[in-house]
Symmetry: C2
Subunit: 336 residues, 2 copies
């Protein structure tokens, strides 16, 4: 079987030379172990930080280690009472065609229930991205009929689903912010947004005034920084803001972060701002999947997927993520 | 009967000359109206803003109008199906010995249940201040065993009760911030705080480092501004901050507000910051009263009251509030 290992710790953005493809024997599961065949692998911006050992929640990576990554796989052989042959798992497979996993919290394994739906959804809509959208939009922002909703990073995997969740919950107006004409068109054509705002064009904040004449009830934020500050300047009473990401601040030191003028409005407007991380909500995953699968079957959520083919495509799938070229959930199909 | 009317719109802080005491006949309730005898009247910083017509939620006051204010009174005569003789009400009595009220949302009337306890508690522990402490500490901050908790404005009516609520919920360490030696002593001697920090002494933020070596789990804030920013710099993962007041910002224009350097840490730490206003939670008042009355009967909450006597004492009670001389719930006993 094939697997990708880390050839170098990346300097700056990640490059093709940071990876090396290897051929190794398919591993044989021992006592307590499970052999899983990789079907789909996801990519996420955080993977760069796995490779530079900058996250607190992932184990350190050395040169020659198999690339860390989650995906969806099928259990081929189980020597663990926790899993049985045929189970469809979301877990830390790594970038390889077959993986050995254990019933251990490290893997944060989630057993999928919705076997009638495409397993690829486990990487996006029925996986961490979809769960993130439900936590932020439904449970933190408590979107209800009549709300005006803004999403930043709206064409991304999480942002695309956050929009669908807001619509499914009956929001009155759904505005998405994305970069470039193509992504904005995607918001309108394929992701159910009412209005798409291009942050690469001038006048973004004036556009917020135009489209939210009575203020913003809900903000699902992937950007942070000045945009978040400007949104705080436009919130309604009892507005709710879910902080999902802060991409504007990931590549600059804290001293250079924007210092907001409008934080006081959280108190003034009796509003809420809350950061969250999907892994803190593991006990709720089955309920999230049930809700999202129901919306998919009802046609209220149409997952937008951006699929590469073959394990060989992994480095490029990750690299392209930082270029931000496509919309929806970027993933690689490794096997049927 | 006697009543206080507004003689002038205050300029700057409120002064004795802004009020005038009048004698008028006891009013006679008409159809749908209720005659209430005033027992206790509370004072609150917001009253200055009633007199300058700066709040959005209170009706405008003109010269000669009876001073607006809440208190606890007993129904003497009722021509409304909503109330009966002997009911103990928290309502907008105004500064007068007898008041006519109606079953109208404007009055935000709350019928007290805990008749075995002193009616004065209706101004503080079993009224809006106690309810505010429960909403902020229990429902927003979700204080649990082991939490480290900080309260600013800790000797005030709300802050004093917020401390008791945190202790009743099992917090591990309770630190209060107040102004001056006397108030700090009060925190330790009468309000159950473990540590009292005097913001009038230098080195407040260093003291936070000393007393929260592993960070602050919960902050109940009445101050805002720079203090809030410094607390954000010291929060733990999944910390919770309830914004009850922003007294540092009430007397300066927004352009002069402190611009925080640490707001991004709400996202970084998956923390929550939420502003709230007790009147948004009216449907829960009976449950709040039940909880607080239970804590009082169990000796877990010992309301600290600062009582003036006779309706004549009202202006001074309000004026002294801005000087911040005492601790606990400031009120005036008008009748037995």
């Amino acid at each position: 079987m094939k697997q990708w290992v880390m050839a170098k710790h990346p300097k700056g953005l990640v490059k093709p030379k940071d990876f090396r493809l290897e051929e190794v024997p398919i591993p044989i599961p021992g006592e307590g172990e499970v052999l899983v065949k990789t079907l789909y692998l996801g990519v996420a911006p955080v993977m760069l930080r796995y490779m530079t050992n900058e996250t607190s929640f992932e184990r350190p990576m050395g040169i020659g280690d198999v690339m860390i990554g989650r995906g969806v796989g099928m259990v081929m052989e189980s020597h663990s009472p926790a899993f049985k042959k045929g189970d469809l798992l979301q877990t830390k497979l790594g970038w390889r065609e077959y993986a050995i996993i254990k019933d251990d919290p490290y893997y944060m394994t989630y057993k999928m229930q919705s076997k009638d739906l495409n397993p690829s959804f486990g990487v996006g809509a029925l996986g961490m991205n979809g769960f993130t959208a439900v936590i932020g939009m439904r449970d933190i922002c408590k979107v209800k009929a009549g709300d005006t909703v803004l999403v930043s990073g709206a064409a991304g995997s999480v942002g695309s689903m956050a929009g669908y969740v807001a619509k499914a919950l009956g929001c009155r107006k759904l505005v998405g912010i994305a970069g470039g004409k193509e992504k904005c068109q995607l918001l309108l054509d394929k992701l159910g947004y009412d209005i798409a705002l291009d942050y690469k064009q001038p006048g973004l904040y004036e556009q917020l005034d135009v489209h939210f004449p009575n203020g913003i009830d809900v903000f699902f934020d992937n950007v942070g920084g000045e945009l978040l500050d400007e949104v705080l300047g436009r919130i309604t009473r009892r507005a709710r803001i879910a902080i999902c990401g802060r991409i504007s601040e990931y590549l600059i030191p804290p001293e250079e972060y924007h210092r907001p003028k409008n934080m006081y409005r959280i108190g003034l407007k009796d509003a809420k701002m809350e950061g969250f991380f999907v892994y803190d909500y593991q006990e709720h995953y089955p309920e999230y999947e049930l809700q999202l699968a129901t919306w998919i079957r009802e046609g209220k959520l149409i997952p937008l997927e951006d699929i590469g083919y073959g394990l060989e495509a992994m480095p490029e799938a990750l690299i392209s993520l930082y270029k931000g070229t496509n919309g929806g959930t970027r993933m690689v199909k490794v096997a049927d």
